[in-house]
Point group: C2
Chain length 337, copies 2
């Protein structure tokens, strides 16, 4: 499938869905749409992913193209009205539109009627299935080892780490699968439940259902974590995933030098040691999971500073760690499989 | 308003909504409906609440009656089809029906059409408002002291403790209000948001919105807690309330002699000391709340055993505790106000 990825004003640093799709999805990305970077190319901004031109609007996306994918997810998950002309242009050209927003395309009358007119599909991947329920406390019984990525904050690399670990485990000959819990993971894997969108009472149950669906067919399940256990807004999601997944092991993800909660700057991050204690302490009554490895996003640091930061991080978690996009992943994988 | 309260097969021990309404709401309860206890009276089972006959079905509820209230909330919040004849009988007699289930009466075609025919209202108190969003991390800024009840499990007395503390604070001359987060609290107070039913991402935000709505008009807000921070199914709700409310103080609620999670018996409860550490440790990065008092449900114990259990519980939490329905609440209130 050939897709254009919308990322107005956010590419690449605040467009994690766009970057995740460029890096891991099977889509052929024909353009990234960001009016602030029009005229550049994807690899001018992000090395090591598929390349494509960056254009100012859907009107400049070349044929053939099958779908427009909304590649940004602002805090709150709303639809930015400045994107409307691009969505309308895509539908007018017969393209499907794929989004992972809390705002559903299928609830927008203008989109729905134009999609019907042009025989296009509006795919809201953040709309959870209707058959969810409360957890039965049974995820721990599956055959697979369950590995959950947990974070010190949002946007520190949990999804990326999950994808890289699963890819490395497969490359090492293991039967491994990803359990996608957020819009990007779902777009990449083609299935999954947007846990942040389910009814609060069903948070753990929705994760449990995915674990039980896949758990006896694989040696390892890598569960995409969300948020952080001390996030003022999103900790409920994190906690529900922790207890719903009943992980056997945790991988702590952190961005080097981040010391305040992004978007909630009055709140400093606790120490790494405190995070380890909080996650392990909270998991313990439900599943005996410890932090067995770490993933440190060092993209803002030079090589020497990055290596120093990794040494400090490994010492704080008392386990091997790496930057999964920059350095070797073998020691971290070894600690897990 | 004159109401009949449905509690088939569950009254009183597993009918906490029914008992909460009998104890705290302004409704005049004309009958409790429980086919297993028909012929008895409420006060045969529960001392110290308003009395009413227990009948087998709505057909035996005397006139006049304004509403049928569903007073039980099974795990999962489903509608038990054995209740249907009572709901239909109530609607046929022109009564409103009030429920706090995950299953919405307003989604049931038979109920909707009969309600329309008889000009009755179907009130689903567990349906959250449409205007919720993510927390902005601002609940800590309100003038009121915010006190949150937290528990070692579901159904250990968080709602009851919240109501008794608010009542005692008012009796002592303070401006105090309850922040209702569950169906029973909402039915009693006549407002509130069913936190377990909101979108997971909005869990903290929904609590924050209530705190900010009331926080500058009162000296004390008593927030009704939900679930437990280590509950395999419901911990997401608990965690979202903890961080969304940004409490100044916590009151730990526990049922004496409970040692396993109700309905999830493979999971033993951690020690009381561990709960204190987990709740305080998890709250700390967002608000500096400590456990300042405890509430112990001793209803299954004789007086001597209850008093011994209270001494042990006070020692474990290192703070004063009481059974709010059985013993004096003054020392506990003193620790809070």
């Amino acid at each position: 499938m050939r897709v254009a990825v919308l990322a107005h004003g956010k590419f690449p640093d605040r467009a994690k869905t766009a970057v995740g799709v460029l890096r891991y999805a099977d889509y052929d990305v024909v353009s990234v749409i960001d009016r602030d970077h029009a005229g550049s190319r994807v690899t001018d901004h992000v090395p090591g992913v598929q390349d494509a031109p960056v254009v100012a609007g859907f009107g400049e996306v070349p044929e053939p193209v099958d779908a427009l994918l909304i590649g940004i997810a602002p805090i709150g998950g709303g639809f930015d009205e400045s994107w409307r002309p691009d969505v309308l242009a895509a539908l007018s050209r017969g393209c499907d539109v794929i989004a992972g927003l809390h705002y559903f395309l299928n609830d927008d009358e203008e989109f729905v009627s134009l999609a019907a007119e042009n025989d296009c599909e509006l795919r809201d991947v953040r709309r959870p299935p209707d058959d969810l329920s409360v957890s039965e406390g049974l995820a721990g019984a599956v055959d697979a080892e369950v590995i959950l990525t947990v974070g010190t904050d949002c946007s520190v690399g949990k999804m990326t780490t999950t994808m890289e670990l699963a890819r490395a485990a497969k490359a090492a000959g293991h039967e491994a699968a990803v359990i996608p819990t957020g819009q990007t993971g779902i777009m990449i894997e083609g299935w999954g439940t947007p846990i942040d969108r389910v009814v609060s009472d069903f948070t753990a149950g929705a994760v449990e259902a995915m674990i039980r669906k896949k758990g006896d067919d694989y040696e390892y399940l890598f569960v995409e974590g969300q948020g952080s256990i001390v996030h003022p807004a999103y900790s409920a999601v994190t906690c529900g995933i922790l207890h719903g997944a009943m992980p056997d092991a945790l991988v702590l993800c952190h961005e080097a030098d981040r010391d305040r909660i992004h978007g909630y700057e009055p709140f400093p991050l606790p120490s790494i040691e405190e995070y380890v204690d909080l996650y392990e302490g909270l998991a313990a009554p439900v599943s005996d999971a410890s932090v067995v490895a770490g993933a440190l996003n060092t993209s803002d640091l030079g090589d020497a500073a990055a290596r120093d930061a990794l040494v400090d991080f490994e010492s704080a978690i008392d386990a091997p760690a790496t930057d999964v996009l920059r350095y070797d992943i073998d020691d971290v994988l070894e600690a897990i499989v």
